[in-house]
């Protein structure tokens, strides 16, 4: 079996599972946030069960419309605070956490080999730690609150084998954009995307999270990477007891629907052009594209490694007149680290605004929305029509280096072409 099959077999009390089989899996952890949680609470109340099945296994994170920008959002937050209080659930309120997918592993809620569901499509991020993690909707979250179980179809798996060494200013974001560009937005629909190979083995947790985060953008049910020493180093001190990783390796004869191979050695910085995540080109091939906004942040690229890279490009430079640059550290922990490293000062000196840890402009619900005719280059994960505001605005997706370089020049720019201070 591959790692996903092993986790699903264990969670459903079976020795072996096969792709296509429907299993009733025990859930080890569930997360809801402020935009999906309220509907889940409403649905939970209709079921007639008084208590969440296990209050240590459910977490609430307020991260989407925070701080509340409207009375309606404030009401949603109030609902979630009350639910967390009534059910004695861990809640990460405003100023105490940040973006759910950063907070969950940081605070020790992600354990390798477990089944994690979240009422957010980017829940697949936790596959970076060798967990089976997938997004669900609010009603399904309510059912999990009541029963602690979920039906899952064991997915076929696609093995994505990555070799080679990244060139300067080429990042895991460029790799995942390249993968989605080749495989297309429905290229792994219903499937498990397992990232393997020497490049993945040598990759930081931050990079692995970026890859698994965007697995859903090619339709995958989950993205996953075998846990190793890098995983252990990140989780030690965060998770109480780590499992033995030996049982979380895919067998040598494990079944895969297919294997796709990528070599990053000659890869250039990549960009997803409007309005589909698979409309991917090398940055060097997009021509002259002026921008009005540059956004560095999100569950895809708001980690300390991402901010360091952006700061490396922005240090001693100014954001171009006519461009607004937004930087959002993915969590309070990342924010504090950026502060300690002097990155916040670099961003401020460059003329970027640093906002509180939250989802920000990524989903177009709160701050940093776009007007008709405007273009934004963003480190986030979706560039759909109307994603960041006006349906007449354009969103381009790229790495923190590319976004920072573009903020400086006022147009989409290959970061390798501008001088960076290291």
């Amino acid at each position: 079996m591959n790692i996903t099959e092993k986790i699903l077999a264990k969670a459903s009390g079976k020795d072996v599972v096969h792709p296509g089989e429907i299993v009733d899996a025990n859930v080890d952890m569930i997360m809801v946030h402020d935009l999906t949680g309220p509907l889940a609470v409403e649905a939970f109340k209709k079921i007639g069960v008084q208590k969440v099945w296990d209050n240590k296994k459910a977490v609430v994170v307020l991260d989407h419309q925070v701080p509340a920008e409207s009375v309606k959002a404030a009401e949603l937050h109030k609902t979630m605070r009350q639910f967390a209080k009534d059910q004695k659930l861990q809640i990460y309120d405003i100023g105490r956490g940040g973006i759910c997918h950063q907070v969950m592993p940081e605070k020790g809620h992600v354990v390798p080999g477990t089944v994690i569901v979240g009422a957010d499509s980017h829940t697949c991020t936790y596959g970076a730690f060798g967990a089976f993690a997938t997004g669900i909707g609010s009603t399904e979250a309510a059912a999990v609150f009541a029963t602690g179980k979920i039906w899952l179809k064991v997915p076929e798996a696609v093995k994505i084998k990555v070799t080679g060494q990244f060139q300067k200013f080429v990042t895991p974001k460029d790799l995942i954009l390249s993968i989605i560009g080749r495989m297309s937005v429905d290229g792994a629909i219903y499937e498990s995307a397992e990232f393997t190979g020497p490049t993945i083995e040598g990759m930081s947790i931050a990079g692995r999270m970026t890859l698994c985060n965007m697995a859903v953008e090619m339709g995958a049910k989950n993205g996953i990477i075998e846990p190793d020493e890098t995983t252990r180093n990140f989780l030690e001190g965060r998770v109480k007891t780590l499992p033995n990783f030996d049982s979380l390796k895919s067998d040598k004869d494990a079944h895969y629907a297919r294997t796709v191979k990528f070599n990053v050695s000659t890869m250039e910085p990549q960009i997803a052009c409007p309005s589909s995540v698979d409309n991917v080109k090398p940055v060097s091939k997009v021509g002259t594209v002026p921008i009005e906004q540059a956004f560095i942040g999100s569950c895809t690229n708001g980690r300390i490694e991402d901010l360091r890279l952006a700061a490396q490009v922005l240090k001693g430079k100014l954001v171009k007149d006519g461009v607004r640059a937004l930087v959002i550290p993915a969590s309070q922990e990342v924010y504090k680290q950026a502060l300690n490293e002097g990155l916040i000062e670099i961003f401020s000196d460059a003329g970027a605004i640093v906002c509180g840890s939250a989802c920000g402009p990524c989903l177009g619900g709160h701050i940093g929305l776009l007007a008709a005719g405007e273009a934004c280059v963003s480190t986030s994960n979706r560039n759909f029509i109307g994603r960041m505001g006006s349906t007449q605005a354009s969103v381009y997706l790229a790495s923190p280096a590319t976004v920072a370089a573009s903020a400086v020049t006022g147009q989409i720019t290959d970061p390798r072409t501008i001088e960076a201070k290291t």
Binding site: L35, K46, D120, S138, A146, V185, I385, G386
Partner: protein, 167 residues
């Protein structure tokens, strides 16, 4: 719910994502009828008006890709969509739709065989889809019995209430 549905089709293309089905800025709304007023407005501002008397939505590949927002299928359902037929679905949307009692069926070839305005008939239990206007018929794989049960009960919550009360 009734397992046999008839109605006119409204067709869209491939990769209809949940942001165009219901933009993020409306996720603070809680009344499903309010959500419905904005269903698919990014592609067609008159969609809610066209759907209000009951329609069958037809999509291409990867219908409902993107966000896990259940407000997307809710907006469609309350706008008047009785059923969604597509070449393939994004998995979270597929589950969400069933969980709120909105039938969804994967049907290869449906997109090319239907034009907006065609009269369609769908029989879920038998897995039969017919384009009455064009005289074309499709047989699809039947949904697993437990999913049919969820739909018959009107959604996952109603289904779960029933199952828990039997225990």
């Amino acid at each position: 719910m009734n397992m046999k549905i008839k109605g006119p089709a409204i067709k869209f293309g491939n990769n209809i994502d949940t942001d165009v089905i219901l933009p993020g800025k409306y996720l603070i709304l809680v009344d499903p009828y309010e959500l419905a007023k904005h269903a698919l407005e990014s592609l067609d501002t008159s969609f809610p008006e066209k759907a209000k008397n009951g329609i069958i939505l037809v999509g291409g590949k990867n219908f409902g890709c993107g966000s896990s927002r259940e407000q997307a299928p809710l907006a469609l359902k309350y706008a008047g969509v009785k059923c969604v037929l597509a070449e393939s679905f994004a998995r979270i949307f597929f589950r969400n739709a069933i969980n709120i009692g909105l039938p969804v069926i994967e049907c290869k070839g449906i997109s090319a065989a239907v034009e907006t305005g065609d009269e369609l008939a769908v029989d879920f239990e038998a897995g039969k889809i017919e384009n009455i206007s064009k005289g074309k018929k499709f047989q699809v794989d039947k949904l697993p019995p437990f999913i049919i049960e969820i739909l018959v009960d009107g959604g996952l919550i109603e289904n779960l209430r029933g199952r828990l009360s039997k225990k």
